[in-house]
C-alpha cells in the first residue's frame, strides 16, 4: 500500500512541489548560519524542523502510520536533492529520523514506538548515537561500557567517544555490554539512554579544525530502565548492524550537495588564473566526473531496490562520497593557496578559513560511520564473496 501510494505520485510533480515549498519557506537567515551548534542557531534550527513537521515533510520516508508519507527511495532522493539545492539548514535530528526511528519500527515494542517516535518526528527530542568507544572503533564489538541489571534497571558504566551532537542531544541510542562472559558479539545490548540522567558527563572534543562537533560521553552509574532495551537483551549487535546499513545507505545526501563545492572550485580556478591550464582543467573535469558518478550510482541503487532496502552495496555509497569529498577539498586547498598568492580576489581569502575547516572535516568522513578500510572489507567479503579473515 505504501509503495503504491508513493508510486502513484508523479516524481516530477513531487519535485516541483518540494522546490516551490522550499523556496518559499527556507529561512534565509539560517542559510550558512554558523556555528551550527551555537544555542541561538540550534533554537532556530529546531523551529525550522517544526515547520517541516507542520507541513508533513519531517520524515517522508517513514510509514504513514507513524506520521510519515511512506515514500520510497526515489521520492526521498528528490526531496534530498531539492533540500540541498535550496541550501536548507542541515537536519538537526538525523540520528533520530534516519537511525533510531527506523530501528524502533523494526525492533522496538509498541510501547517504545508510541513513546519515542512522535517526539523524533516533531524534533522535540534530539538523538545521538553511542556506539564508538576509545577501545572500540573499527572493532566495534570490542566495546566495554557495561550495563549491570539491578531489578528493573541497568546500571551503566563506561565511556563513549566521537559522539556527534552529544552536547545538545536529549537521548542516546547506545550499545552496551550486558554479558561480559558471552562471546564478544553476543553480550551486547542496544539501549536508549536519557542524556539528562545523573552520572552522564559530556566533554566536547576540540578537533584539528578547531570545531567541537564531537564529544566524549562518560557514564558513571547511570540508571536506565530495562524497558529501554531495543530488541532482545544480548541481541544488540544485530540491531546495530541493521542500523548501520541505514546510516551508510542511500537517501542522506545527494549529488546536489556537491554542486556548490564544484562551483567554488570553478571560481577559484578562474580567480587564480589556472582555468586555462590543462592540468587544472583535467582536475576540475575529474571532480565533475566523480560527482556524476555519485549521482548515477545513487540513481542506479534506487532503481534496483525493489522494496526500499539496501544491502552491503550501501558500503559503496559511503566509501565513494567520502573519498570524492576529500578529493574535492584537496583541490580546493591548492587553488585557495594559489588564489591567495595571486591576491586577485580578496573576497576569496575570507572563504579560505572556512574551506580549510571543512577540508579537515572531509578527512574525518573517511573514518566515521565505519572507516573506509572497514567498508572495503565489507565489499570484499559480502559483495565479492572473498573469504573472511579470522578476526
Amino acid at each position: 500500500m505504501t509503495t503504491e501510494t508513493a508510486a502513484a505520485k508523479d516524481l516530477a510533480a513531487w519535485r516541483a512541489e518540494i522546490r516551490q515549498w522550499l523556496s518559499a519557506n527556507v529561512p534565509r537567515d539560517l542559510v550558512g548560519a554558523r556555528p551550527l551548534t551555537s544555542p541561538e542557531v540550534l533554537e532556530r534550527r529546531r523551529a525550522w524542523e517544526r515547520v517541516l513537521y507542520d507541513n508533513g515533510y519531517a520524515a517522508i520516508h517513514w510509514p504513514v502510520e507513524y506520521g510519515g508519507k511512506g515514500m520510497g527511495a526515489a521520492h526521498r532522493m528528490i526531496f534530498q536533492e531539492e533540500y540541498e539545492r535550496a541550501s536548507a539548514p542541515p537536519r538537526l535530528n538525523i540520528q533520530g529520523l534516519m537511525l533510531v526511528g527506523p530501528t524502533l519500527m523494526q525492533h522496538g515494542t509498541p510501547e517504545q514506538r508510541s513513546r519515542w517516535l512522535q517526539p523524533i518526528l516533531r524534533c522535540e527530542e534530539v538523538w545521538c548515537q553511542g556506539f564508538s568507544e576509545p577501545e572500540a572503533g573499527s572493532d566495534l564489538a570490542a566495546l566495554r561500557t557495561s550495563a549491570r541489571v539491578v531489578g528493573d534497571r541497568y546500571v551503566i558504566n563506561g565511556q563513549k567517544i566521537w559522539t556527534s551532537g552529544a552536547t545538545y542531544a536529549d537521548w542516546m541510542f547506545a550499545l552496551v555490554r550486558t554479558d561480559p562472559d558471552a562471546p564478544k558479539h553476543r553480550g551486547i545490548t542496544a539501549v536508549l539512554i536519557d542524556m539528562r540522567s545523573p552520572g552522564i558527563e559530556v566533554r566536547p572534543i576540540r578537533q584539528i579544525n578547531g570545531r567541537r562537533t564531537f564529544a566524549e560521553v562518560f557514564l558513571d552509574d547511570v540508571e536506565v530502565p530495562v524497558a529501554n532495551t531495543v530488541g532482545e537483551m544480548g541481541d544488540g549487535w544485530n540491531v546495530a548492524m541493521s542500523a548501520l546499513v541505514l546510516e551508510r545507505g542511500i537517501g542522506r545526501r545527494s549529488y546536489v550537495k556537491y554542486l556548490p563545492l564544484l562551483q567554488e572550485l570553478r571560481h577559484l580556478a578562474i580567480a587564480s588564473g589556472g582555468a586555462d591550464d590543462s592540468a587544472t582543467l583535467e582536475e576540475l573535469g575529474w571532480h565533475v566526473m566523480q560527482v556524476c558518478r555519485y549521482r548515477h550510482h545513487v540513481g542506479r541503487t534506487i532503481a534496483e531496490s525493489s522494496d526500499g532496502r539496501f544491502g552491503p552495496e550501501a558500503s559503496l555509497n559511503k566509501l565513494f562520497w567520502s573519498e570524492m569529498e576529500a578529493a574535492i577539498y584537496e583541490t580546493g586547498m591548492r587553488l585557495h593557496a594559489l588564489a591567495t598568492a595571486t591576491g586577485t580576489e580578496p573576497a576569496l581569502s575570507e572563504r579560505y578559513p572556512l574551506w580549510e575547516a571543512d577540508y579537515w572535516h572531509a578527512r574525518a568522513t573517511r573514518i566515521f560511520a565505519g572507516s573506509n578500510q572497514i567498508q572495503r572489507n565489507i565489499i570484499a567479503e559480502r559483495v565479492l564473496g572473498m573469504p573472511k579473515e579470522k578476526r
Partner: protein, 350 residues
C-alpha cells in the same frame, strides 16, 4: 519517470539474448583461437547477425528492433565481458542508427539491408583528428570524420594501413580515403558527426565497463583459489582492498554509460557532458581494475596461457579509443569553466 539504469525488462532481455549466443559460441577456447589465428571472427559475426541485433536502435518498420539507446547498454557490457572480437559497438550503436537518421533515401536503401543482415561489416572513425578505426581492414562501410562533417565511405573508396594496437584482434587500421572519396553525395546530413561521436563514446564506455567486469571476476576467482601462507590470498586485507576499490570503480562507472545513452536519446542538455563522464569513468575504472587484476594474479597473469591478457589488452585499446581519459576530462573541465556548476548543461534535471 524513474530512471531504470538498465534494470528494465527490455534491457535485460536484449542483453540475455546476446549473452546466450556469446557464452555458447565464444568460450575461452574460442577467444584463444581468435587471438592465435589472427583472422576476423566471421563465424561469430554471423551468429550475432542471426539475432537481428544490428538494427536494435532503428524502428521496427525499417527492419530494426526499435529499442531506445539506453536499452542496448547492458548488451554492450555483455559484449565487452565476453571477449568477442567484433565491430559490434560500431555497427549497432553508431553506423546503423547514424546512416538511418542522416543518409538520404538512396543511400539508406542501398546500405542498410546489408548492414542489418550482417552481409556488410562496418566501422567508424569519428573522433577529432584521427582516421584510425577498429576492424578497418574488414569494413565494407566506414563512417569517416572530415573537417566539414561526416562521410560514408564504401570499400572501394578507401584503403587501410594496419597500425599497432595492444589488441590485434580488434584490427585497428588507418583509413586512407581515395582522393575523390569525399563527394557531396557521401556526406551525411547536418549534425551527423556530433551524433556519431556521442554514440561511439557512450557505447564504447559500456563495452569497456564489461571488459572491466570480466577482469574483476577473473581476479576475484583467482584470489579465492590461489593459496599462499596456507590460505586463499583473498583472505588478506591487502588483497581485499584492491579488489574492493576495483569493484567500486567499475560499479560507479556502469550507470554513467547508461545515463549517457539515456541523455542522448532524450536530447538532454547534459548529453555531451554525460558521454564524456561515461568514457572518462570507464577508462578510470579499466585502468584501476586492469592494474589490480594483473597485480593480484601474480606471475600467472603474465603468461600467454592465462586468459587475463585478452581483456587487459582489449581494455588498453578501448581506454584510448574514442577519446582518451585526458581528452574527456579536459572536455569536462572546459564545461565547468564555461558554465555554472549547477547548470543544466552539466547536471540536467530528470
Amino acid at each position: 519517470m524513474t530512471l531504470s539504469y538498465g534494470s528494465d525488462a527490455t534491457s535485460t532481455e536484449l542483453a540475455a539474448g546476446l549473452s546466450d549466443v556469446l557464452s555458447a559460441k565464444c568460450d575461452l577456447d574460442h577467444v584463444r583461437r581468435v587471438w592465435s589465428e589472427g583472422e576476423f571472427d566471421r563465424s561469430l559475426w554471423d551468429e550475432v547477425s542471426s539475432l537481428s541485433f544490428w538494427g536494435a536502435l532503428i524502428p521496427e518498420a525499417d527492419g530494426g528492433l526499435g529499442v531506445r539507446s539506453e536499452d542496448v547498454v547492458r548488451s554492450l557490457e555483455e559484449f565487452g565481458y565476453s571477449g568477442a572480437s567484433l565491430p559490434l559497438t560500431e555497427t549497432v550503436a553508431v553506423v546503423v542508427p547514424t546512416i538511418h537518421r542522416f543518409a538520404d533515401d538512396e543511400m539508406r536503401d542501398r546500405l542498410l539491408p546489408g548492414l542489418l543482415s550482417g552481409a556488410s561489416v562496418s566501422t567508424a572513425a569519428v573522433m577529432p583528428g584521427g582516421t584510425v578505426a577498429l576492424f578497418a581492414d574488414v569494413a565494407d562501410v566506414a563512417l569517416v570524420a572530415a573537417e566539414d562533417g561526416l562521410y560514408v565511405l564504401e570499400r572501394d573508396q578507401f584503403t587501410v594501413e594496419p597500425v599497432h594496437s595492444p589488441d590485434p584482434t580488434s584490427r585497428l587500421g588507418r583509413i586512407k580515403p581515395r582522393p575523390d572519396a569525399f563527394t557531396p553525395h557521401a556526406r551525411l546530413g547536418e549534425g551527423a558527426l556530433d551524433e556519431a561521436r556521442l554514440r561511439a563514446v557512450w557505447a564504447t564506455a559500456a563495452v569497456l565497463n564489461g571488459v572491466s567486469r570480466r577482469m574483476l571476476d577473473l581476479t576475484v576467482e583467482h584470489t579465492k583459489q590461489r593459496e599462499q601462507f596456507g590460505r586463499a590470498i583473498g583472505t588478506f586485507q591487502a588483497v581485499k582492498h584492491l579488489a574492493a576499490d576495483a569493484w567500486v570503480a567499475v560499479e560507479s562507472s556502469r550507470p554513467c554509460s547508461w545515463y549517457a545513452a539515456y541523455a542522448h536519446q532524450e536530447g538532454l542538455p547534459d548529453a555531451a557532458v554525460a558521454a564524456s563522464v561515461a568514457m572518462a569513468s570507464a577508462s578510470d575504472a579499466a585502468r584501476l581494475v586492469g592494474d589490480s587484476a594483473l597485480q593480484l594474479h601474480g606471475g600467472i597473469g603474465f603468461t600467454w596461457e592465462h586468459p587475463l591478457h585478452f581483456w587487459l589488452k582489449r581494455g588498453k585499446l578501448l581506454e584510448h579509443s574514442y577519446g582518451s581519459r585526458q581528452f574527456h576530462l579536459r572536455t569536462l573541465g572546459v564545461a565547468i569553466r564555461d558554465e555554472q556548476a549547477g547548470s543544466e548543461a552539466l547536471f540536467a534535471d530528470v
